[in-house]
Symmetry: C2
Subunit: 373 residues, 2 copies
């Protein structure tokens, strides 16, 4: 069975992302190698606990560690300040002050919250992530960004705080709804487009196996995405626009995608669905700037279609071109009315480009079906 | 007029601590040098705002920056999670998302809260500190530790997060109550004992001028303490017991002092008052271990008396030897029933010692007047 170890290198530490199947048997040894403390607080939601917590808690106990469960709300509600304070309250009741680490079991919302708890409790305690969605396995579990929402906006509280270990078990994806799998595939397709033409080819060739959740196919996809993100994050650990700016290419499709998410409503579109539309718009912009030929647009659209991802803004979503443009003004890549926009150079390569103004974005959004006004 | 610049060096950045008098005239240039953003959120309490905010806000505005005041509760209540969330709410209403920095005006509680806000808002925004107490100028403003209290315990939330600038204006101490000045002097005396015999001598010689808040005398004292803490913190930025452990010497008097604070009640003793008793106990322990002669105990007691600091545990404080010992068990320097205790080697030098068990601490606490049982 396929098993990959990818190491994330940060200025402060290096840690493994282990990708494979039925990994809970390896958890005890991996916790030992990570120097994990003797008391473990498992932070997860009730539905995920029902599916997966039993075998994971047994594995933690086999390692000689005690484990206490801290349940947080399901979905984005996990990232509220109320949930943050409740999780901290739970943590104060666990084990000895110096001997507790956090294990996050869930999607990006769970690990964002758990990582922020871990990074701020007693100036930082160890944590590990077992991501349960494809999106979390290929994206949010890697890179050290953790966050909590304020009522005034998403992710307004946050830190760079890295886990000691990420255990990406593709077996856990067997219970993932098809729409969630597709949402994760949008980020997978992004990695192919910006950094790995071979991956882009394979996603077209292996679509049937991936959509059927074939474990080997998923493990191959996840480990290649993790390797790409690990390399980019290693070059630009703090997403420093003034520095190498390398991490900015991970934003391919996200400048418009985030604005679509915010304008159309988070309840209407999953993250990957908004990113799919944003990526196709970014490819179209790259074409109109004369950087890529027309047929690339068709190929990207076909790939997104293959994974049942949306490529148009439906009028029923209730978001207009101007509402999307409005939300782009809050993107930190926006400077002086011109976006430092990530354009596609060819399949497998992307770069920042400063020539994208609001008019070009309006035109492309209109092509994607967004109503004017 | 005396003016000292001490640089704090951390793995990520280096920043100045400027010590002197009437420094608000220098604030515009210092904010520019620190690369401070165009919008400034001044975090302070209402009483401090009434005393000092006007001239500081004018200085910020002279630098071409806008300034918004965010008021937080006075005293330790500044560090509650409610105060944290309220300050964040205020921050979301200030200026542009990328262009805001925080200026903390106050004692250690204000800068602890403001630093935690700065460190967690949008993964960290710049902040600066204008400390208004002697304790904050010589201790809490230096070293990058920021924290918020949970109902379950003090400082349970926190980070290492450094300011871009500390402006320690001893003129601000003119409004400081005598008891607060004395509390700060306990930490000043600590620096003399652990690291600077010349400072210890000067504190005895210049006591009249210091107690009269002579600006030159205070500026000299503060800048020497800052230089000592800067050197220790530079060697051990993350208070890493497994590393150099150098920062541990700053805990001289604090292992017992913190336990006295917690056992006797924070409303009964100021931090420096508890530390004064803790330091005398630590000197007595150093003597009983045969490390320093008896006359050192007398000299330290005389210095503490000179600054009207307590050296005995009054029965009215309601704390017993056993309640103090109980609280020491939660100190992270406590391992296997034996404290890694900071002992005095001579005036001007301290080191960690592992031979201090609870029986010796009980004896010394009894000498300090603490009731048994």
């Amino acid at each position: 069975m396929q098993r990959a170890h990818v190491y994330i290198r940060t200025p402060a530490l290096s840690y493994p992302v282990v990708v494979g199947t039925r990994l809970s048997s390896e958890l005890p040894a991996l916790l030992d190698e990570a120097g994990f403390p003797p008391h473990v607080a498992l932070i997860t939601s009730a539905p995920l606990a029902a599916l997966h917590a039993g075998s994971i808690e047994q594995a933690v106990q086999r390692s000689g560690r005690s484990v206490t469960r801290i349940l947080i709300p399901d979905g984005e509600a996990a990232k509220s300040t109320e949930s943050y304070l409740a999780a901290l309250g739970g943590l104060t009741k666990v084990g000895s002050p110096d001997g507790t680490g956090i294990l996050a079991l869930g999607g990006g919302a769970v690990s964002d919250l758990a990582g922020f708890v871990a990074g701020t409790y007693r100036r930082g305690i160890p944590y590990a992530i077992i991501p349960t969605t494809l999106l979390a396995q290929v994206d949010s579990s890697i890179g050290g960004k953790v966050a909590v929402n304020l009522s005034e906006g998403k992710n307004l509280l946050g830190l760079f705080y890295h886990p000691r270990l990420v255990l990406s078990d593709v077996t856990l994806l067997s219970s993932l709804p098809a729409r969630q799998l597709a949402s994760g595939m949008a980020e997978v397709i992004k990695y192919g487009l910006i950094a790995d033409a071979g991956l882009a080819d394979d996603l077209e060739r292996d679509a049937d196996r991936i959509l059927a959740k074939d474990a080997d196919a998923l493990a191959s996809v996840v480990s290649r995405c993790v390797a790409i993100k690990a390399e980019v994050v290693g070059e630009d650990p703090y997403d420093d626009v003034a520095g190498s700016g390398r991490r900015a290419i991970l934003n391919f499709g996200h400048t418009i995608g985030h604005a679509i998410e915010a304008a159309c409503g988070y309840e209407n579109l999953l993250h990957g669905e908004a990113i799919a539309i944003g990526m196709l718009a970014a490819v179209e912009i790259s074409h109109r700037l004369g950087i890529v030929p027309r047929d690339i647009t068709g190929r990207v659209k076909a790939a997104l279609d293959r994974y049942s991802l949306p490529t148009r803004i439906d009028a029923s979503m209730g978001c207009s071109i101007e509402s999307i443009i409005h939300h782009m003004k809050f993107d930190k890549k926006f400077r002086d009315g011109v976006h430092r926009f990530v354009v596609l150079e060819r399949i497998g390569s992307a770069r920042l480009d400063a020539r994208v103004g609001p008019e070009l974005i309006r035109e492309v959004l209109a092509d994607r079906g967004a109503p004017r006004g």
